[in-house]
Symmetry: C2
Subunit: 398 residues, 2 copies
């Protein structure tokens, strides 16, 4: 049996109808919302029709299980508070289409709360053992709702956790959520690795003062310290980073944040991402040394919040090669290898089994927005690559 | 009669007892609070004892009027939400002591809400005609209380507005609220001018994006635009400013202000102060040109809020010379001329009559803080300079 592109696109549009909102193809389907649970019930029905055994686990991760050992494919079907129709949904419906058309055993998963209403990739983090369930239950969303209360809405569906040993690997198809493929006119990206992340809050404390009576040379202005730090790391990173490295100061909190007062304190986020653990560590050294120098030179007290870190994850060579062969068959000259700058469920699943990922373009690089979209020809191309890869993996196994 | 330093200090400490709070000599006596109104009632009694005719005006400015034409002296007796014992209070009690000891006609004023619960130097702004009463009545404090409701608490005291034509000039003594005198070991500062202020909000709007998937060279990061703007104006101001010029970015609002998102928009305050209107205008040119260049180079939309401006105010030559002669008599070698970087009631009063100001040191340059203080010997030196000046002005008039 071959994949049915029409059925695949139809199911993708049907999934969008759960929580369809906003302009264009927008979706509002956050984890555990009515729309999310209704979508999962519908998905479970489609899985059953495909001959898969449905199992919800205690946190709402939805599995459609093939009999015996199988390859796991999928992604997530919850959305951002204001999201698009493809982020996560694409990988789930593509997996469903492969499972029902392939003659190899393929299981399907839709992880819960990948978008992090309660943290980061919550459902797969729990399943992979990275986040203990008791700890997760104490997490709350922005409205103060505890995770335990949210997941209780799915109690009637919940079974046990699925044993990961039944899967030989995990393949996740996803939109790129960045501009690389779209800019180059590429159709397929085979992911080499998911970059690692470091994230911490840095605080400079100087001296709050009257903005009229304090001469410039006597100021210990926390904003000026931040500006100096920013300029220096931009300069010092130059010979350390690659074109794929990114770093961001995305959050700034100035105190007392008044136009007539020399700011006495600033706390800001410093986040950096790269595929190489050693480069991440070298950047951390530069950040800490630069912050210390700026603090010393400007009479600032310096402090750091805890450093949050996720290690880079390399994709499995065998799974990745199958995807590359598929890409070469389906989109010759229009595919490339590339790292994933965003986190995905595959990061967590890599703790349990070999993983690989496939990207299709995001128009204008836009995601986490109602305007998120991809040409349907590219969606189908991605599906066909998965189909080829699964067939190739089957042949190797036989 | 000569000034009585003991009585002066005693009254200053008594005034502190209204709203005494916090560590050290802290005071909590915001405009129209119970402590503020009680302090004004007490002050009115002291004025009467000094032979002055008490008149509250409709907004709570308290005058102690000498008979016939007189020199007006004073400041304000309201405090910051967390203030010190001298900011404003010193000028009022010093004026009281001069009025009761001098044989020249001296009237005393304590303006209301100099600290700006409802704006900036509210009481003197209304009295000087700069702020229409009907407009002021619509202002609200941070808790949403309208000015009209706050001043109603003083209705039983209120008379009409005092005719400014009865005053030949205004002299205000104040703590410096900056570090200049304290750093140099100076005892007296004779103010040359109160600097002008320009203040506006600038907004850069770029493109909000995923901090993991957006390569550095494709970002339109609003925080980086702010940092570039800041570095360039610091550089370009170099050949324009004097050692007395100050400029401050004290408020920064980043959107969406999240560590994993490239900031799409920043609004920030740009405030600059100088005694020279032309320099203020030259700085504005540099600011606008730099912001436009940064916006152009980084693909940002640029917008400005309204520019708030207060013109520099030069002190009256005759009044100032009397203060300088007094300073030379009382503190030879320990006085200097200097601009005022802070706003004062004298800025408003200058619309009505000649004004002059006298500073005494602030220990550590600290003000608007419970820790605000001045050596009592310096307070008395300031009082004696006023005494000399009033006597000298009397001699000239005779």
């Amino acid at each position: 049996m071959t994949v049915n592109a029409e059925r695949f696109l139809e199911d993708l549009h049907t999934l969008r109808s759960f929580g369809a909102a906003g302009v264009g193809k927008g979706v509002v389907r956050p984890a555990y919302s009515e729309a999310d649970i209704a979508a999962r019930r519908w998905l479970a029905g489609r899985m059953q029709e495909a001959g898969l055994r449905v199992q919800f686990d205690p946190v709402g991760n939805l599995f459609g299980l093939a009999e015996g050992p199988s390859l796991l494919m999928g992604s997530h079907s919850d959305s951002q508070p204001e999201g698009g129709w493809l982020d996560g949904a694409l990988g789930v419906i593509a997996a469903l289409e492969i499972a029902r058309s392939s003659d190899r055993p393929v299981s399907v998963v839709s992880f819960q709360d990948e978008e992090g209403r309660f943290g980061v990739t919550t459902g797969s983090a729990i399943w992979s053992g990275h986040l203990p369930l008791a700890e997760a239950d104490r997490l709350t969303d922005h409205a103060g709702v505890p995770f335990a209360a949210a997941r209780a809405a799915m109690t009637d569906l919940a079974g046990g956790f699925v044993d990961p040993a039944r899967f030989s690997g995990f393949v996740e198809m996803h939109i790129e959520q960045g501009p690389t493929l779209d800019t180059e006119g590429g159709q397929i990206g085979v992911v080499t690795d998911i970059v690692g992340i470091r994230d911490m809050v840095i605080t400079f404390a100087g001296q709050q003062n009257h903005a009229g009576t304090t001469p410039m040379h006597l100021r210990r202005d926390a904003f000026q310290a931040l500006a100096a730090f920013n300029a220096q790391i931009n300069d010092r990173f130059r010979n350390v980073v690659t074109p794929r490295t990114v770093w961001t100061i995305g959050h700034v909190s100035l105190h007392p944040n008044a136009s007539s007062i020399v700011p006495g304190r600033v706390s800001f986020s410093m986040q950096w991402r790269d595929g190489d653990t050693e480069r991440l560590a070298r950047m951390e050294e530069i950040i800490r040394q630069t912050a210390a120098e700026v603090a010393e030179a400007r009479g600032m007290a310096l402090s750091y919040g805890p450093m949050l870190g996720l290690e880079p994850v390399a994709m499995d060579g065998r799974l990745r090669m199958a995807l590359e062969q598929g890409a070469e068959s389906v989109a010759p000259g229009r595919w490339r290898t590339m790292p994933s700058g965003a986190l995905h469920d595959a990061t967590n699943v890599s703790r349990l089994m070999p993983v690989a990922m496939l990207f299709v373009p995001s128009i204008g690089g836009i995601s986490h927005d109602f305007a998120e979209d991809t040409d349907e020809a590219d969606l189908v191309a991605g599906l066909r690559v998965l189909d080829h890869a699964v067939a190739a993996l089957g042949r190797v196994n036989e």
